[in-house]
Symmetry: C4
Subunit: 236 residues, 4 copies
């Protein structure tokens, strides 16, 4: 029988696919509840197809505990590098949500304009792999690259990755999914708002208070139940 936290990881994969946060690419991991120096993530597979059998345990520097011939995600280093410096983070998502791309490539700040989007934080930094690692394929495949990205992320919940996507960190899997879903919502609505005029954003204090509310158990429970139903989690 699948452990409940691994089942939640499978469900989170399906939710991210179903809510359009990921397409064929992108991934989510959780820190091992039994060993903070390890994390679980799927083998190289699209989130919508991930099952419990695809999950692999890794050390923080990306070494598989028992690969069983499966191909790992080449960008798993993103996850380990974040866990390494953020002891309070227990779930990490890397995605290419279409809505965030325009902000990364133009440098227009992505700031929260709606209370449910508070968890994305008042200041989202943008990381450009080109700056330190030159013109390459944009993938984060070494711990060195992952650590550079983690430094840019700092103590925040979101960092954009220019011409690539973003990384989202949460204290647990539900919070990370909440942040990833509403990052996408905020990006879409901010793009539209900027076409109308000058948006009146959440202040940093408001963003903080909206985050507290939006990541409270009652809000997370409500949203999780909803996302699970939509993603067909009862059949997983």
């Amino acid at each position: 029988m699948t452990l409940s936290y691994l089942r939640d990881l499978v469900i989170a994969n399906r939710i991210l696919a179903n809510e359009g946060v990921v397409d064929a690419f992108g991934h989510i991991s959780i820190r091992s509840p039994d060993n903070p120096a390890r994390y679980f993530i799927s083998r190289s597979r699209s989130p919508e197809l991930v099952t419990a059998d695809d999950l692999i345990e890794f050390t923080l520097d990306g070494e598989a505990i028992d690969l069983q011939g499966r191909t790992p995600y080449s960008e798993r280093m993103i996850h380990g590098a974040v866990y390494e410096t953020r002891s309070e983070v227990n779930a990490v998502i890397h995605n290419h949500a279409y809505e965030v791309i325009p902000f990364g490539v133009t440098g227009v700040p992505l700031k929260p304009i709606m209370h449910t989007c508070g968890p994305i934080g008042s200041h989202i930094p943008t990381w450009d792999i080109r700056e330190k690692f030159g013109e390459g394929d944009h993938l984060v495949v070494t711990m060195d690259q992952g650590r550079d990205l983690a430094r840019c992320l700092g103590d925040r919940s979101v960092a954009l990755m220019k011409r690539h996507g973003c990384v989202v960190a949460g204290k647990d899997i539900r919070e990370a999914v909440m942040t990833a879903v509403y990052l996408q919502v905020n990006a879409k609505l901010l793009l539209q708002s900027l076409q109308l005029g000058k948006p009146d954003y959440l202040t940093p204090l408001e963003a903080e208070r909206c985050t507290a509310r939006q990541t409270s158990p009652v809000s997370l429970d409500r949203a999780w139940e909803y996302w699970c139903m939509r993603a067909g989690a009862d059949k997983i």
Copy 2:
């Protein structure tokens, strides 16, 4: 057996979810047909999942008649505050429809540009909780806050809530759903129109006459049958 007006409330929840007016958050209530000083609304749950067992009766100031251990919506005060001052209103919707957000945060007036959108009214005010209650989490959790919002709404059918969403009031549940659905449509189309040029809106007189037509029984019946079919109401 579920009373028919409670079944309609369940169906309205599903319709609002299916038509994209609400996501995990947002809610709809009806005034009790038996006691105008009370209203029915779901426990804290996403509208797409609401069943008859989730419905709770409240006094207008938000006290549950029989909570049975269920968690109420923290923002139910919006509903009571509107019923309190609007005796002709029998259904209230609070939602965060994505399309309306850009108007609230930029201050661009949201006015009807299409006959089916007449019910949203020619003047939609915008309420900013920050003005009177300061920088908080934007939720309307006290009767004081609810009444301030209801004052802004006045005798209208819609008020925007800045960085949050909107409130919609209808004389019955079908009219409230009609208004909420076409508020979203109008917001989307007005955003597009403003990218093309200067829209020629419905005049206030036209909006009034379009409202009369759009909320006539023949129009409401046609739309309700359509929304019910789409939301799978026959299986509720």
Copy 3:
């Protein structure tokens, strides 16, 4: 057993709903193959729900041959007025396709920018009921109003109706559906193109030649088979 042209009318209703040309409102009619002075159209019902039992025969001035207690569409006069002046037209669609609204309300010309959209024609006029009939509910409910709209349409396939929608005329039902579907596509793509720069439209001669190709039997057959499959026509 349903006559094949009436079955096609039911299918066309479902297609228009499924392709997003109509929502709860809008309608399609065909001229009677047996009597050019009559047409068939559904009773007042959303196109997605229309069945053969909903179809009613009308004289061109909107009198039902056998109403059987059913409620007719209040705007059926649009259809009769077009058939009256256009002997070559055998199918008429009235819809509120969202994509066309921004063009009507801003006066920006809606012209074809893509070969499949040729059938919409190089010049689409816009009719404003307000001009002759004053500030009302925008519905076309008299033959007088219908004829005024038909005059604006002239010998074209499409006319926009300001703050309301459009009317589409075709020599047969498949051509009318083709035109309505690609009117929506062209409107969406032209709105986007105008955000990028100055579009290089189809010339009038190209629009004419694209129309000939797009409304040839081989194109209509291919598209009709596709739309039928998507709308589940095999279950009708």
Copy 4:
């Protein structure tokens, strides 16, 4: 039993329909693995409905080997003309993906802004049939027209066709599908980015390196499995 490469061609048709790359129109072909001077493509049918029985083998100049009374696509010449000059190309897609149209008609360069979109290439030329062949119906129905388009395409993977769509060439069927899907994604995101500001594109070197990564077996396998699942390929 269907040969596996023909089954893949059927699946690719369904994927392109399911991912919104094609609607009723557009087509995909593969070069015959047994005879480089021939290619396979469906009879005139919408990609979403194509089955193995619809596939026809053609010589590069568009002559059917065994038509069996089926109607061929009038634009099959696009495919043969590309195969003729590009010996390394084994799959060709012609589509009217809505997202690419605004770039063709305005002349705004469509360049990659995201690593997964590298395969579209750093320079996408635009072909205008009007220039050499005058004002017609925009269809490519002669080898002369096909060859003119192929010259414009040159050694690239994508060329836009003004007021019409695009052509995509790949070294195999999965690569061609990958390029067509992400061409659409890039067009959508670039349109949005240009509304925000000045995008910082992939450099030519980055596009090349992203292409190598994105068209590597591990990436193509992951995406193909995902698209197959979404398109219901297991039922084909």
